[in-house]
Structure formats: structure tokens, C-alpha cells
């Protein structure tokens, strides 16, 4: 009798321990080096071209539907948790812009699917249901049951690819984490990735759209490592002779940019930089001097939708980002690359969409190889 009871107790204890170790949902989601992306389909499908000669590709950091609201994290603001109506208002503006440009493939950055700050609206599904896109793939960048800072709460933000045609495969390729943060901050911080999607583009057996959003505020070489991995993924496709379009928010300036220091523009009123007693000397993410050549390799090996010489001839025309709502766009951070050239003159930096994000969408047409 005693032995039987003892066995029952041991069994109960063992079960409890097993439950603890295998069943507890992590507070912060961490990722394997390679995982599948999360697939989406629009509630109702719209017809897509069956033999396109060219496609329009767009990249857009939509700032999680915050529009011009001065969000605390990146625009000298104090807002943290947006209302549902604010988010829907901005998402409607984004959808209207997409409907007017009619891109065939869209690379999205900073899209929320289940975040407290954006009223838990699944923005990927919402965009699919309110635009001409039929299919989507999503890869989380920042996913946690709670971010215990500034009242952010639950977070699920990431990158996404939307397409008129079916996405047959989506891979989330993990990028290195920032190396300049303490362990606690790093644990709750963003986990950048490359979202590599295979799209059933009519006329092509294999075709990929690749989306990246690199580190914005790292002060070490984290972003360089991320850019190198991005290029290596493009190199792999080139080696296999597979066509692709790629791009995203690279958080880097073109190598021939003339202004490299945005510290004084980006700083809050209570911050000070460049002074003899200031430490650090530069604001995180605002001083591009040491990293100005980091995109050179991409420009040397791939065809940019906006070539460097065109950019250099009229920089402000191609600016796609600002942190100051009262001033014009003042830097270019958003890019499109491919191996097969873009159609000359087809590019557009849509600075008229300023109301809907702190980034302008960038689009260009790409000729489908026959």
C-alpha cells in the first residue's frame, strides 16, 4: 500500500515537472535560424494577370499603421497605445495608396499582427482583405506576450510579403541580434530576419521575393552582418540562376549620400550630442559615417531600382524617411534590388504618401524574364 502510494506521488511529481518544462509558453518568442513564415490568404480572391510581361514591386515600411502620430519610440512623441480608429484610419490611407499604385508584389516592414499598441489588428490580413492582394507571408521580428517597458504590452510585429499570385513557400531566416545591448534588453528586443518567399509568378518556374528590415539603432557591426547575410542569400539565388526581387528598409544610406549625421535632427529636446562632455557623442541610428560603405557591395553586384548616379544627381527626390514631421523627407533608407535590371525610369519614391508612415514607399517595374 505504501509503495503504491509512493509510486503515485512520484508519478504526479514527474508529470508536474514535465508539464513545467514542456508546456509553459515563453514570455518572449525566440526563433530558430530557419523557420517557415506564416501564410495568409485574402478573404476573397481577386483575379491576377496570367502572363505578365512586367510586374510592379514596392517596398514600404508602414510604421505599424501609426501614420503621423508622434509615437514615443521614434519620433519625439509620447503616444504608445493607439486607438482602433486611429489605426484603421491610417490603414485605410495605406490601402488607398496601394490601390492607386497597384503593385503586384509588396515588401512590408513594421507590420503588426497582434500588438497591443495597434489595437490587436492583424494588419496583414486587413491589407489582404482591403486591397487587390491575394496572398501573404509574415515573419515576426518582435514577438512577446509582454514587453515590460513603456506600457507596450503584447507585441507581434514583423515583415511581410503580399502578392497577387500564390506564395508557395516562405522562410524566415534569422539575422544576428544586436551586439551592443545588455542581456535583459536584448532578450526583449527585436529579432530581425529576412523573409524569403517563393511566388508562383506566371511564366517562371522559380521566382523569389525577398524582404529585409535591418537593425535601425545598432552602434556596432550588427547591421553590417545582417547586410552581408542578405547579400549572401541573393548570391545563392544568382548561383542557381533563379530570378528574384529583393528589398526593404535597410536603415542605411546610399554610399554617395552627402549628409551622414542626423543626430541634431533626430535628437529629443532633452538630449545632447557632439559636445565635449556628451557621451555618447552620437545618437543611436543617426550617425552613418562609419557605415557609409556598407551598401556598396549590394550596389556593385546587383541592380538597384534607383541607381547611385541617379540618386546622387537629385538626392532629395529619393529621400524616403524622416523623423521630423514638420520637415520634408531627409534621407533614403528604403531600397529595391534585383539581378535582372529594373525597367529604366519606372521607379518612384512616393513622397506623397507621407501622411501614412514615416517612410515613403518605393516602387519600380521589373521585366519578367521569358
Amino acid at each position: 500500500m505504501v509503495t503504491k502510494s509512493k509510486k503515485k506521488c512520484c508519478l504526479f511529481l514527474s508529470l508536474l515537472l514535465i508539464l513545467h518544462f514542456i508546456s509553459c509558453e515563453p514570455l518572449v518568442t525566440q526563433f530558430e535560424d530557419l523557420e517557415d513564415g506564416h501564410m495568409y490568404t485574402a478573404r476573397s480572391l481577386t483575379s491576377a494577370p496570367t502572363s505578365p510581361d512586367t510586374i510592379c514591386v514596392m517596398t514600404w515600411n508602414i510604421r505599424f499603421g501609426a501614420g503621423l502620430i508622434p509615437w514615443f519610440g521614434d519620433s519625439k512623441g509620447s503616444r504608445v497605445i493607439l486607438t482602433e480608429s486611429e489605426v484603421f484610419h491610417n490603414m485605410n490611407g495605406i490601402a488607398a495608396k496601394l490601390q492607386s499604385v497597384q503593385p503586384d508584389i509588396l515588401l512590408l516592414q513594421e507590420v503588426d499582427i497582434q500588438s497591443k499598441r495597434t489595437a490587436y489588428i492583424d494588419q496583414v490580413q486587413w491589407l489582404l482583405d482591403h486591397t487587390h492582394f491575394n496572398y501573404g507571408a509574415y515573419a515576426a521580428v518582435w514577438k512577446a506576450q509582454v514587453i515590460p517597458s513603456d506600457g507596450l504590452g503584447r507585441m507581434d510585429m514583423g515583415t511581410a510579403v503580399l502578392s497577387r499570385w500564390p506564395i508557395t513557400k516562405a522562410e524566415r531566416i534569422a539575422l544576428p541580434l544586436r551586439g551592443d545591448q545588455d542581456a535583459l534588453t536584448k532578450h526583449f528586443y527585436l529579432r530581425r530576419n529576412i523573409l524569403k518567399t517563393k511566388i508562383a509568378l506566371p511564366g517562371l518556374e522559380d521566382f523569389y521575393a525577398i524582404n529585409i528590415h535591418t537593425s535601425a539603432f545598432s552602434t556596432d557591426d550588427t547591421k553590417k552582418q545582417q547586410l552581408d547575410i542578405f547579400k549572401s542569400k541573393l548570391d545563392e539565388l544568382v548561383a542557381r540562376n533563379i530570378p528574384f526581387v529583393a528589398g526593404g528598409d535597410l536603415n542605411s544610406l546610399p554610399p554617395n549620400a552627402t549628409v551622414l549625421d542626423y543626430c541634431m535632427i533626430d535628437k529629443r529636446d532633452d538630449e545632447s550630442f557632439h559636445g565635449p562632455d556628451d557621451d555618447p557623442q552620437h545618437k543611436e541610428g543617426s550617425w552613418f559615417g562609419p557605415e557609409i560603405t556598407w551598401l556598396q557591395d549590394l550596389y556593385d553586384n546587383y541592380v538597384a531600382a534607383i541607381p547611385l548616379d541617379e540618386y546622387g544627381a537629385n538626392e532629395s527626390h529619393y529621400f524616403s524617411h524622416t523623423t521630423d514631421w514638420t520637415a520634408p523627407y531627409d534621407r533614403k533608407l528604403d531600397y529595391l534590388f534585383a539581378k535582372i535590371p529594373w525597367i529604366v525610369g519606372s521607379d518612384s519614391t512616393h513622397q506623397d504618401a507621407r501622411q501614412w508612415s514615416d517612410h515613403a514607399p518605393v516602387s519600380a517595374r521589373w521585366e519578367v524574364p521569358k
Binding site: 506521488c9 504526479f12 509558453e25 509620447s78 504608445v80 497605445i81 506600457g151 504590452g153
Partner: protein
């Protein structure tokens, strides 16, 4: 299958899962370690746990309790009174007050530790809880308790619904601040296993009638295994299974529970 079916089934399953083990060594009486039952602590006995309230047996029929860790940021005080014991069935009620405003304002901060956005104003909130316990012995070594509770909150102004902390345990319990009043019903069974081992299984159903229908209920089930060294000390290990309707949808959580509890009797009066 409606949304109430699954929690009710779970409640039923564990409620009838009685082991029937005999009570050998730890027959310390139901009054000790009696939280969650219709028993009150013996007069002048004090009990406290790392995560349990500080409880004091004021008389044979009344006990007082506070959560000491929370007290300085969320003042709280409960009185539990045993009303009757008839034919082995005990009846008690608990009445408590808490003032969570300071804690919520503390959590509404910039930077690390901010669980609520500092952009919101937190009004003064007083929460009142009222619970009814009915306990009866089963098979001489198990105590079955039914619990019914009605809570309500009064506020000095509106509380923005975006200030919720959407985490298990916290979201469910703070629902009364946002929805004015709420109800709970549950069952708790505790008993001896063997030697110094005992168990507690409970289930609690939460309901907020004024909340929108997709965020108005929750269910929690707890399983704890206790090792009792003496009347003065016990340690427990277990789990909390929580199902809740949150602003982002429904979710199950399984959380580990560990606690140490101490008890003693005050000398003299």
C-alpha cells in the same frame, strides 16, 4: 459547443477526481493551511506564504488577511468570518477592500517596468470583494469547498480600456476595474495523499456581465502538491492552467506554481 462548455467540463473532471487516500501523518486539522475553504484559522494562529497573504486568526470565527508584498503599493484588507457549522458542513464569508491605484500608477511609467502606458490617467479605484464558502468533508480525508463571489469597483473617473495588462492571472482579476462588477464561482478540493503529502485542486470561473461578449469570461484551474513538514512549514509545487478571453483573443496558459508557507501561533493576548 458554446464557450462555457469546455471550462465547465474541465471543472467537472477534476472535481470528481478524488483519490481516497487515507490521512496518516499530516492530520493537522482543516483549520490550518485553510485558505480557499470555509475554515478560518485557529485563534492567534498566523500563516504567511511567499505568494500567499498574511492571515491571522483573530478569533475562533474570524480571521484577517492582507497581502504584505502588495500592501504598500496596493493597500488591501480582508475579513473572513465563519458563520455556521452544521452536520460537518461549514459556511463562511470573506469581505475585502483593495485600492490598486498606486500600483497601477507605478506601473504606468516610461522605460523598463512600464506595464501600462504613461499616457493614461489612472483614477482612484476601490475594489470590494465578497466571497461565500461552503466546505464539507469527503471520505474523512478530503475537504470539498464551493465558492461564490461577487466583486465590484468604484472609480473617481473613467479608466481607459487600453490600460489593461493583458497577461494571465492579472487581466482576469483586474477585470472588475474596467467592467464595474464581476462574479466568480468555483470548487476547491484538498486532501491527504500519503505521509506528509497532500494536494489541492481547484477551479474558478470568472464572469463580467458588463464586458463585451468576447472578453467577459475566464477559467482557472490549479493543481498543487504540498509537502508539510509540520504545523509551522509547508512547501508546494504545482501548476495553474488558465483560459481567458483577452482583447487579442482567447488563450490558454500553463504556469508553474511554487510557494513556501509558514505558520505559527502568537503567544498570549
Amino acid at each position: 459547443m458554446n464557450k462555457f462548455t469546455m471550462p465547465l467540463c474541465a471543472l467537472l473532471v477534476f472535481s470528481i477526481n478524488l483519490s481516497g487516500q487515507s490521512l496518516d501523518v499530516i492530520n493537522l486539522g482543516w483549520q490550518n493551511w485553510s485558505i480557499g475553504t470555509a475554515q478560518v484559522l485557529p485563534q492567534q494562529r498566523v500563516e504567511i506564504g511567499v505568494f500567499q497573504p498574511l492571515r491571522y486568526g483573530y478569533s475562533e470565527k474570524m480571521e484577517f488577511s492582507v497581502h504584505p508584498l502588495l500592501f504598500f503599493v496596493a493597500p488591501n484588507f480582508d475579513i473572513k468570518r465563519k458563520h455556521a457549522e452544521i452536520g460537518g458542513i461549514s459556511l463562511a464569508s470573506l469581505h475585502g477592500l483593495s485600492y490598486p491605484t498606486w500600483l497601477m500608477r507605478l506601473l504606468a511609467r516610461e522605460g523598463i517596468g512600464g506595464l501600462i502606458s504613461p499616457e493614461f490617467n489612472i483614477p482612484h479605484i476601490i475594489s470590494v470583494q465578497n466571497e461565500l464558502f461552503v466546505s464539507g468533508e469527503l471520505l474523512s480525508s478530503h475537504l470539498l469547498t464551493g465558492i461564490l463571489a461577487f466583486n465590484f469597483a468604484v472609480k473617481s473617473g473613467p479608466l481607459d480600456p487600453r490600460t489593461t495588462i493583458d497577461l494571465p492571472v492579472v487581466y482576469i482579476r483586474s477585470g472588475v476595474y474596467y467592467h464595474d462588477y464581476g462574479m466568480r464561482a468555483g470548487v476547491d478540493i484538498k486532501g491527504a495523499l500519503a505521509w506528509r503529502w497532500s494536494y489541492v485542486l481547484d477551479g474558478m470561473f470568472f464572469y463580467y456581465p458588463k464586458a463585451e461578449s468576447d472578453i467577459n469570461m475566464a477559467f482557472e484551474h490549479k493543481g498543487l502538491l504540498y509537502w508539510t513538514k509540520s504545523r509551522s512549514f509547508q512547501i508546494c509545487l504545482g501548476y495553474l492552467l488558465s483560459y481567458g478571453e483577452y482583447p487579442f483573443g482567447t488563450q490558454w496558459h500553463l504556469l508553474p506554481l511554487v510557494d513556501m508557507q509558514w505558520g505559527w501561533t502568537r503567544k498570549g493576548r
